[in-house]
């Protein structure tokens, strides 16, 4: 019983963090839209945050969020390495999918409406 309560409180803490991270991703997407000349640091930041989110989501059994975060990490890493423009389609597509998923009050249910 105690371990269930502990897990629930940790799961709630993770959901709270997802909300906070969602705000960060939205802020970064705004910064990316404006960064015509040097978006590399934004790609790197996106990649780092997405990687961290992917690991946490996987451990907290939020597989849809984990998959979406993994997709964003791969896209952002590839964009940073290829010195892509701030309009990189793969990054924007992955970013939008992840932010939409995280914006849902129930990420698990929301996952069914998002293409993997």
């Amino acid at each position: 019983m105690a371990s269930n309560e502990s897990f629930e409180s940790l799961r709630q803490a993770f959901h709270d963090r997802m909300e906070s991270e969602r705000v960060h991703f939205v802020t970064l997407s705004a910064a990316l839209a404006r960064a015509d000349e040097n978006p590399q640091w934004i790609f790197e930041d996106l990649g780092y945050r997405a990687h961290r989110l992917q690991g946490g989501a996987a451990i907290f059994e939020q597989s849809a969020v984990a998959r979406a975060a993994g997709r964003l990490e791969n896209a952002a890493t590839a964009a940073a390495q290829s010195r892509a423009q701030n309009t990189d389609e793969d990054v924007w597509s992955a970013l939008e999918a992840l932010v939409n998923l995280m914006g849902s009050t129930d990420p698990v249910r929301a996952a069914h409406s998002v293409q993997p």
Binding site: L10, H51, R52, G55, G56, I59, F60, E61, A66
Partner: protein, 349 residues
């Protein structure tokens, strides 16, 4: 201190006699401790809760450097580590664990979101024993850690068994004192060190007076108890970590006292004489009182003093001192120097 109390104290010391004599550290617990390494505090907390629920002891670290600090202070049988972390990542941690923690095996499980074949191979090449992709069901993570627990337990059992075999190879099984094999290997080393650095080295040859009468009167089981108590008292009367004793015959023991000259050795001998002649040892047949005869000899530090050049001479001098103590009726300590031994040898010639 009343005598009866002192017997108890001395008898109690026999319980950890092996520790006293062999200065060894036995692991008393088979608790399986897992070190969780992840830079995400919520992931650490979640894994910690899961593992504690599965009866693992858990330590947690936020990166590789913290993990190494913990591994340096506590033995963790299993390390469950993330790959990507700030400062030191999981691969580097794995390599260092393999390079530095060789005495007891540390089973490393990488738990990471990196799921390509290349990543898996890189993790195993760095020294990981298992590789789990984050997102695997909790049951799978726990099942893999159970495998780790089984393997580390087998490794622990083998290591303990090997250590016990090594200990038994140099120990007298009855008393826990070192055996003759140990004496013949280590006393020459003590002599070499003494001669090279001009440090004194003393040896006491000790023998229970009229031990046969104890066996005849009380039986061999009580005689064995007396021998064990004899060793325990000597062990508690000499310096732990430097002095040591070995059984060289039925009731004859050699006490080796590094950094001790003949005067110091004589003080130890008088102390031993007193501790046995004043206080009987407790046995199942009741208190048994006996005395001890001692032969003393030493390699002195001063270069001008004649030295024993061979182990045999040193042992012969101690034995001669013991013989002299016995012929004077026992309960005596007699010192024989190298000069005196040479003189006796000349007379013999």
């Amino acid at each position: 201190m009343p005598p009866e109390r002192q017997y108890d104290s001395l008898e109690d010391s026999s319980a950890d006699l092996h520790d006293t004599i062999l200065n060894q550290r036995m692991e008393t617990s088979e608790v399986c401790r897992v070190l969780v390494v992840d830079d995400d505090d919520l992931v650490r907390a979640r894994l910690t809760a899961l593992l504690r629920n599965a009866d693992f002891e858990v330590e947690a670290a936020a990166n590789g450097e913290d993990a190494l600090r913990i591994l340096g202070s506590r033995h963790c049988q299993i390390v469950l580590t993330d790959w990507q972390m700030p400062d030191m990542d999981g691969l580097s941690l794995c390599r260092i664990v393999r390079a530095e923690h060789g005495e007891s095996y540390v089973y490393v499980v990488m738990l990471t979101v990196r799921d390509s074949k290349e990543d898996l191979l890189a993790g195993l090449a760095a020294g990981a024993d298992d590789y789990v992709v984050k997102g695997a069901p909790v049951e799978e993570i726990l099942a893999r850690l159970e495998v780790a627990r089984r393997i580390t337990h087998v490794e622990y059992s083998l290591r303990r068994s090997n250590r016990e075999n090594r200990r038994l190879a140099v120990t007298d099984p009855l008393t826990g004192a070192y055996n003759l094999r140990y004496l013949m290997k280590h006393l020459p080393r003590e002599m070499s060190r003494s001669q090279r650095y001009l440090h004194p080295l003393a040896v006491l040859s000790c023998d229970i007076d009229r031990f046969k009468q104890i066996n005849d009167a009380h039986g061999h089981d009580i005689g064995d108890e007396v021998l064990r108590a004899f060793v325990a008292r000597i062990a508690s009367s000499i310096r732990e970590g430097s002095d040591w004793l070995a059984r060289v015959g039925g009731d004859e023991f050699l006490v080796v006292l590094p950094e001790t000259d003949v005067a110091g050795a004589n003080r130890v001998a008088q102390k031993l004489k007193k501790v046995f002649s004043h206080y009987p040892v407790s046995t199942h047949a009741g208190p048994v009182k006996f005395t001890v005869s001692i032969g003393i000899t030493a390699l002195e530090a001063q270069p001008e003093i004649r030295k024993f050049s061979k182990l045999e001479e040193l042992l012969r001098a101690a034995d001669r001192g013991l013989y002299a103590s016995k012929t004077q009726g026992g309960n005596k300590a007699t010192a024989v120097t190298a000069e005196e031994l040479a003189s006796v040898d000349r007379q013999g010639d």
